[in-house]
Amino acid sequence: MELLELLTWLIPVGPLAAFAVILLLTAKNRTLSFILAWAGIFIALVLSWIVSFNVFGDFLADGHAVAEEPVRVHSSVAWLPIGDYYGDPQGSAFAAAGDEAHGAEAGDHGAEEEGHHGEEAGHAVVPDETKSGTWFRMGVAVDPLTAVMLFMVPFAVFMIFIYSVGYHNFGAQPGKFLGIPNHGMEEPMFSRFFALMSLFGGAMLTLVVADNLLLLFVGWEIMGFCSYALIGFWYARDYDSPKRLSPRRAAVKAFMTTRIADVIMLLGIVFFYRTFGTLNFSAAFTPESFQNAIQATAFGAVGLGLMAMMLFSGAVGKSAQFPLHVWLPDAMEGPTPVSAVIHAAAMVSAGVYLLLRIFPLIAVALEAAPGFGWTIAFIGAFTALMSATIAVAQYDVKGVLAYSTISQLGFMVAAIGVGAYIAAAFHLITHAFFKALLFLCSGSVIHGMEHGAEHVHDHHSDPQDMRLMGGLKDKMPITFWAFLIGGMALSGFPIVTAGFWSKDEIFADAWYNFLEGSPVGLFVFIMLALSAFLTAFYTTRQLALTFAGKPRSPLAEHAHESNSYMTTPLVLLSIFAVAAGWFGIPDNFLGTDGIFYNYFHHFVGATLEESFHVLYELHLIPHEIFTLPFMIVPLVTSLVVALGGIYLGWVMYARKPLEEGQPDPMIGILTPALHNFLHNKWYWDELYQAVFVRPAVFFSEVIAYELVDRTLIDGILHLVARTIFGVGGYVRRFELAVFNDGIDWVKDRFLDLSREFRTFQSGKIQEYALLSVLIAFVFTAFIMLVNAGILNGILN
């Protein structure tokens, strides 16, 4: 095995091992636990960057070589022997059975193959490397897309790990209360937190390096579990307000919502395997494999589109897209580092990463029927705009960020809907950096506010409420500057920040799509432009409400800067939140030629360049990987919406900062009714409560429990029980009469008899003697009678 392959295998091992060791051995020792967690993710970071930079180095050395062979590192082991339908040594579908691959025939073929494998099973205990078709292979693969993820994920997670130590007040007086936040005191479940976070990081890295859908799904589901455990980390916390979901309920909500998506995704994986005969990405997404798969499904390319939609459903749940977006805002109930890891580095990125990973399949779907493109683009664009409007009317500092996450994920999904693969990947990376930064900043703000709350002994005010903040600029300077950088990146502040470049690329792609005659492009362009405008606006609003003006509550009055565990990651992430964009400046920016080089575009584009070229020739996909011409409309649009939004926010909130007790000017502008509508998140939760939860509860309580369980099943069981009990009663009576009383009667008679007979045994010697004499007399008499012949007639 090559060194790079080995290193790639080892990437997820560090955090996973840290999880196991912390959980099993060092849970009592908090210092050791967090150092282990740091070590685990740091090893992963080093290994990831070695692999990542190697691949990038290959690209710099020879871009064409990378394009021709995008999978730079690939290693797999024969994992599970399977009854493979096609039994092809290369494991690629239909290579052997290509011309007979129709549904019915595949079944016959499968039966035939089964017999063949049956013979083999006897001796083939050792994986036969030459016959990969009969083995499900698990492995890791690194292509340019993986490489950029490997660059981002472990770094962001490592920053969050550093931050978490400060966030949980390491070194302070130990907190006493399990399952609730111990403000200003050390988290009692410190080790458990780091164990779960390590598992989370390990799962994300597993997902990133996976070379097949199944291993990806494994990481995906482990993250699902970790998000559940970490959102519900403060499991004992309850709120007075019934409208606010407690962390444990939020955890269940997140888990259940994503579960709905995951079931559909799992079906999609099964469909995928059935159609392609492999789950390996590079094996499945070859032009030949696509051609065979199109023949194999009942609906041709549309069938593949349906498969893409099933997998897309998984991403909708994981990346919190409408209509399954409802779990993500409530996931804010977890500790802030958890929010950061869920919303930036892992979890939600995983959904978009899946879409990027299966992008060839989605591209085929886009070409097969316009409906697929519309569906993806509509879900993404609608989610982006909807959550942007919701974010405008939120007061919770994390709530705004939560909706902005959903909104930005909507950007990525919409980009995929118009086929803008690279733009989506680019936005995924830049967004991960600045959103991790923003979450950590908001955690720092909350931490400072909680400190203020401790100081003034106020346990009722919500330290996350932006109306109570204000004036934190001077009290928390590092946090302010980091927040400002992150916020500007999110707003898409022109030229400097990463967010500008990635959003601009999405706009450009959507616009180009429109110019080519596709109305989807225009729809996405307009929706995303509006969203971007709102994004810039609410980000400025958030910055102004939090940091500008004078403190609006004693909490903010006594807030102070967080410790260096927390501020160091902020500084480091700020650098990336700005600089990450500079690798994606378009080649022909402002019509120049040769000044800029879009490293990101060409590097990630190399992943699919060759195969897309062939697929495009075969008319299976709408576009090749291409470089967009310079267009002035999207550039102006992105400048206008970003600067316009920031300016509007500045006018409304920063020029004249809110005073204490002053209502949000937004309410006046939007009218209270609309503001309430937005503040209450379009009432999606209430709608789902009425449409899905209540009927489900009704169904489970009345129909499932009362009617089916209690009445039908219990009724049958009780009937059986009563019948058997009745029969048992008769058996019992019979048994009592015959076996009990009957046997007792016999016993009693014997007892009576023996009582009679025992009087012989009187112990009196003379009675014995008398008896002997009598018997002797009788015998004598008998013998005499016999001798006399008198008894002859009787005896004979």
Binding site: T759, G763, Q766
Partner: protein, 102 residues
């Protein structure tokens, strides 16, 4: 010469007296004496049959002497037992010695 049957009648009478004594007497010593009577009745029979049978061979006399010896031994053992019982229970009434009953 007195006929044999007379002796036999005497012996039978004596045996019956002994048997009656064994069965009817309450005192164990008296029962032992009655046993002696019954044994002696047997001796009379033995001697009488010898005298009227084949007097040249002294078989019957010898046997009678054996019986006497056995009777003596029996009386010795029996009396010893009775004394032992008496020491234990202050009684030689046979009816009362019934600890071997059911």
């Amino acid at each position: 010469m007195i006929p044999l049957s007379w002796y036999l009648l005497v012996a039978a009478a004596l045996f019956c007296i002994g048997l009656y004594g064994i069965l009817a007497r309450r005192n164990a010593v008296a029962m032992l004496m009655a046993v002696e009577l019954a044994l002696n009745a047997v001796n009379i029979n033995l001697v009488a049959f010898w005298r009227y049978g084949n007097p040249s061979q002294p078989v019957g006399v010898a046997w009678a002497i054996f019986v006497l010896t056995v009777a003596a031994a029996e009386a010795a053992v029996g009396l010893a037992l009775i004394i032992s019982i008496y020491r234990q229970r202050d009684s030689v009434i046979a009816e009362e010695l019934d600890i071997l009953k059911y």
